[in-house]
Symmetry: C2
Subunit: 242 residues, 2 copies
DNA sequence: ACCCTTATGCCAACGCGGTTGACTTTACCT
DNA sequence: AGGTAAAGTCAACCGCGTTGGCATAAGGGT
């Protein structure tokens, strides 16, 4: 690669583009989020982002190694926003619930971006801060380390997986999304009861429920299981460690 | 659109390509799975698939409306294989567990394909058959319809979301995947204990657990919650419906 | 057994994508 | 004030999905 990416902190000269914009990682990421919202998850292209910034597409390579690295920066931004919007109450179960919902809704606030990034691990600073927070809540709640790690793993992967799934549904174009929802009231509701008795019997309930996210239900189930585990552990006197 | 896609069942003439292959939806989907495995989730292109089939890329448009429709056909194939590999035992909890794991591992058997398709709803026949099966298990187990639909929703979305997440990790190129795994034993394990006490304290456990899927843990938690709900319902005499 | 129709495959081209190498300009350091 | 190299620009490369027009041969009707 001929071009070198200069770390944002080491950046000194800020030469404006021909159209007068002064670029920065932050401006690029925010503009990318806007472009994604306006043009859909497939609409983030180097050329389009360049135009939106008032800069040549190739300028982006001065800031990011490629579109992939830009994508990871966007993902970190969403995780960071989730953590910023959250505050601790001290009650572990409520805190985890709020944090999970914060991550989920931070992604869903930018579904087109989330669909691109939610299944990637960035290893960037703000993602690490989030991990530290979750582990802290669990260990402070009294879970021994192996249980804390198991629950951390389940919690974060569950939240990211649902964020990606739900964002994917929201990120479709409006007509495609409506068509997917209608599937439940059209195709599924009209299946013959002889061949598909169970779908036919529950068609109305399905049409009402399927357009929403299952994440809260599953998250609450996970937290309820964890709470039961914790109280069982207290009852039996903290004698097991796994 | 100038070209018409002829439904597979209505297809009569089977003219071989210049290189002698006789095309069919089935052959195309299977070849696409092979191409995906060999070239990664971004490696399925019309031109490459054409070459692999010994046919011109544009010929694919005689069989599918576009790459998107081909993608959905691949997704349905994976779900169909999961259902085929499964058989009912009559014990609802064991059956659901086996079915969930079957879906998960069917996707993970073709991670590059799964990464492309797992978050899409196809509405195709074999996907409908899977849905009917799950609802049947729950309703036969004694869950009233609203609970059955709620659990069906949680179950299927959980399974698909984790399939997508885990497939995404597996679908990375070998070096990228190894780098991601190493993150836990390199970056995370070396964070200073002063700033990140919880990560530092659990680094070894994290490195051991994070490379595996959290799906079984979460699935079992969900099924345990459902079982508890069912027995509570029996105890209180089936008087509630939600 | 032979046509005729038309399904099916092929070809060439279009516009758009990411990315790169060589270049110009200009902010900053000395 | 001048030199240097960072930051922005330009033109080009190659691969992508997709399309319209064309060639050809499969298979039904007679």
């Amino acid at each position: 690669m001929a071009k070198q990416v200069v770390p944002e902190t080491a950046r000194r000269r800020r030469r404006p583009t021909r159209q007068g914009t002064v670029l920065s990682e932050r401006l690029i990421v925010e503009t990318a989020l806007r472009v994604l919202r306006e043009h859909g998850s497939g609409g983030l292209t180097a050329r389009r982002l360049g135009t939106a910034l008032g800069a040549d597409p190739s300028t982006l390579y001065r800031y990011f190694g490629g579109m992939d690295e830009l994508t990871r920066a966007i993902g970190e931004e969403l995780l960071g926003r989730a953590l910023d919007s959250w505050s601790a109450s001290g009650e572990w179960r409520a805190d985890l619930r709020a944090l999970g919902l914060a991550v989920h809704s931070s992604y869903l606030a930018h579904p087109q971006a989330a669909a691109l990034t939610a299944s990637r691990v960035t290893g960037r600073p703000r993602e690490i801060a989030l991990d530290e927070t979750i582990l802290g809540i669990l260990r402070s709640a009294g879970f021994p380390d192996p249980a804390a790690v198991r629950l951390y793993h389940a919690f974060i992967d569950l939240s990211l997986a649902f964020a990606a799934l739900d964002a994917g549904a929201l990120a479709l174009t409006e007509e495609a999304r409506a068509a997917d929802e209608d599937l439940w009231s059209s195709t599924y509701a009209r299946l013959p009861a002889e061949s598909f008795p169970h779908i036919a019997a529950t068609a109305a309930l399905l049409a009402a429920r399927m357009p929403h996210s299952a994440y809260p239900v599953v998250l609450d189930t996970l937290l309820a299981g964890a709470a039961a585990e914790l109280s069982a552990r207290r009852r039996t006197g903290l004698d097991r460690e796994d």
